[in-house]
């Protein structure tokens, strides 16, 4: 086990930034700390680095309790969001800085820096100062600088935040490749769930200082631990149902009451892909009109209007759409193949979902 946090809490004055968080990272793992801004993920990263001290709780690196170790002694590599390169040093000297501190011999320093320049595709740029480098190059210099002294752990704070979308995609793939080659335990912070899912082996999800779930991308997507995770990872359509006569309903839609008595409310969620649509109006249980089709690339988004005026925005592939012979204005039938019970009335709800919807209601993305 490479890194372990045990009941770590961090308070800044009255504000609790991190609340009783425990998790561990395995040797060689590529871990994402994911959550909305202000969720406490950067604070967790900084506590592992030693840039912040936990108010209570312990941090372990390779079995050693490091609470009392200074930043300098922890042997970590840290990449800052804005890279924090040394402006007065060229790329070579930036990367060599940590090695000189560790009193490496000069030929060794040169060999190591050259090796990293090559690995990071920065050859020929070693004499450039930070302001003479592009955003992507600066970031690679920052990562090379952090990795140069062979740290036990590499920590990255929002590594892809400051570059444009196309470069971001390249950098993601590049980080995965790099991690594969070096196999150094890596933790990165991101607020982008897609990024966390694509890059990491496992993801830790934070919200408001609390650890909501930890798991592989597949686990957090398919088995979200709670409503927050369900809604944060991927798109989830949420329905609030009223139980009457043993059935949970919203307009025409009916679901099992899951044992709740009449008069109570039940909240369920489903992915937009779980809506099955057929041009055969008798194929499925519910009737609707296909109001509008949005082209998203491989996927299409279709807007279904139920007789009661309820709108549902589902997703399907182009092939499925063509196979079914769908078109705007067509009568269709649909069913919801899979859904999850998110919360029962009286249970703690994430504040952002604690709103009741009135009919007619639009469901799905963009509501």
């Amino acid at each position: 086990m490479s890194i372990e946090l045990k009941n770590v809490t961090k308070k800044f004055g009255e504000v609790t930034a991190v609340n009783d968080v425990s998790f561990s990272v395995n040797e060689g793992e590529l871990m994402a700390l994911l959550g909305p801004s202000g969720g406490g993920k950067t604070t967790v990263l900084r506590m592992i680095a030693g840039l912040e001290m936990p108010t209570t709780g312990d941090v372990f690196i390779r079995g050693q309790r490091v609470n009392d170790l200074s930043v300098q002694e922890r042997n970590i590599g840290f990449v800052f969001q804005n890279y924090a390169l040394f402006k007065n040093m060229n790329a070579f000297k930036n990367i060599a800085f940590g090695l000189k501190i560790k009193k490496w011999k000069r030929p060794d320093v040169e060999a190591r820096v050259m090796e990293l320049l090559k690995l990071f595709d920065l050859e020929g740029l070693e004499k450039r100062y930070p302001h003479q480098l592009s955003g992507g190059q600066r970031q690679r210099v920052a990562i090379a600088r952090a990795l140069a002294p062979k740290p036990g752990v590499l920590l990255l704070d929002e590594p892809f935040g400051a570059v444009d979308a196309k470069i971001r995609q390249e950098l993601r793939e590049w980080l995965v490749t790099l991690h594969h080659e070096l196999n150094v335990t890596t933790i990165f912070v991101t607020h982008d769930q897609e990024e966390a899912m694509e890059v990491s082996n496992r993801t830790v999800i934070f919200s408001r200082g609390n650890l909501e779930q930890i798991g592989t991308p597949r686990e957090v997507y398919e088995q979200p631990a709670n409503e927050f995770v369900a809604r944060f990872i991927g798109v989830m359509i949420v329905l609030e149902l009223h139980v009457s006569k043993g059935v949970a309903r919203l307009n025409e839609l009916e679901f099992p009451s899951h044992g709740l008595p009449d008069g109570e409310r039940l909240r369920i969620g489903f992915r937009p892909y779980s809506v099955q649509i057929s041009s055969d109006v008798k194929a499925y249980r519910y009737r609707a009109i296909l109001r509008h089709t949005y082209f998203l690339g491989v996927m299409l988004r279709v807007e279904l209007e139920l007789p009661s005026g309820l709108l549902i925005r589902a997703r399907m592939t182009k092939e499925e759409y063509a196979f079914q012979g769908l078109a705007d204005g067509k009568d269709v039938s649909f069913q919801i193949r899979q859904y999850r019970v998110l919360a029962r009335e009286g249970e703690k709800l994430a504040p952002e979902v604690a709103v009741t919807h009135d009919v007619p209601l639009t469901l799905g993305e963009g509501i």
């Binding site: 030693g50 924090a84 402006k87 007065n88 800085f97």
Partner: protein
């Protein structure tokens, strides 16, 4: 035919024209006048007037004391700016306001006050003089007065740059194992150096031209505590205009040469910036 370059900012012709006119009226024409005045005398006469023993002693004091004062300001002004930007303490705003004081105070008042303080029976003088530190009517007094008037330049130029230092850069150095001292000397100091040199240049330029405060504290003894600007005023009092102009031209040429060198140093030390 050269293509007209597009510039997003309008009014280059107008502003540049105004700049040249303004600089000419304020600086170039008076300076040119000064040089023209020297044409009234022969080169040998000029040389004789500009390099009397008394004049040489005055140049030495003016430039020597100005350099020492500007160095002191560069060093202690940096410490002062550092403390004002980096730390919170009671009375910070008051001290911050105090820094501008030498800007506002009439220099003659400053000179009189300092002379009184450092006189044999003054508040400070009564303790310092028995220790052999004579502040009034000595070259040391000249240095003290010049340091006083130059101090705000060093502090005020550095403050904004210090405020803009990224905290993360220091943290990055720490994660790489660098101690606070190492971080300061390897990263912070080189980043600040160009600005410190700018502050030094400003304080130096101010000191070379200083007159008001010096005449009171130095005593103006020829060959000992007489500064070049004072000697010029003396010549003017004697209606010896050519003598005054000769001194002024020398003062100006040396000042310009030194400022040019300092400017080059500044560019060199900021080679890593845009």
């Amino acid at each position: 035919m050269a293509e007209k370059k597009f510039n997003a900012l309008p009014g280059f012709g107008l502003t540049m024209g105004f700049t040249i006119f303004y600089l000419s009226a304020i600086a170039l024409i008076p300076i040119a006048g000064l040089f023209l005045k020297t044409l009234e005398i022969s080169l040998t006469d000029f040389w004789r007037l500009a390099t009397t023993d008394r004049a040489l002693a005055a140049y030495e004091l003016t430039f020597g004391a100005s350099l020492v004062a500007a160095l002191a300001n560069a060093l202690f002004g940096t410490v002062l700016a550092w403390v004002l930007v980096r730390y919170e303490f009671p009375g910070k705003r008051f001290i911050d306001a105090l820094v501008d004081f030498p800007f506002a105070l009439p220099t003659a008042v400053a000179g009189l006050t300092l002379a009184n303080l450092f006189a044999d029976n003054g508040w400070l003088g009564q303790w310092l003089v028995p220790l052999g530190i004579k502040g009034a009517f000595t070259p040391l007094g000249v240095i003290i007065a010049l340091t006083f008037v130059g101090m705000p330049f060093a502090v005020r130029t550095l403050q904004p740059v210090l405020e803009n230092l990224e905290r993360e850069v220091e943290e990055a150095a720490a994660t790489l194992g660098a101690s606070r001292v190492r971080t300061f000397f390897s990263i912070i100091a080189p980043t600040l150096l160009p600005t410190i040199i700018t502050g030094f240049a400003l304080a130096f330029a101010r000191a070379v031209g200083e007159y008001g405060s010096i005449v009171f504290i130095s005593g103006n003894q020829p060959f000992k505590t007489e500064i070049a600007p004072y000697l010029i005023v003396m010549r003017l009092d004697e209606y010896d205009y050519t003598g005054a102009v000769a001194l002024a031209v020398v003062l100006m040429v040396i000042s310009f040469a030194m400022l040019y060198v300092i400017n080059w140093l500044e560019t060199w030390s900021s080679r890593f910036q845009n």
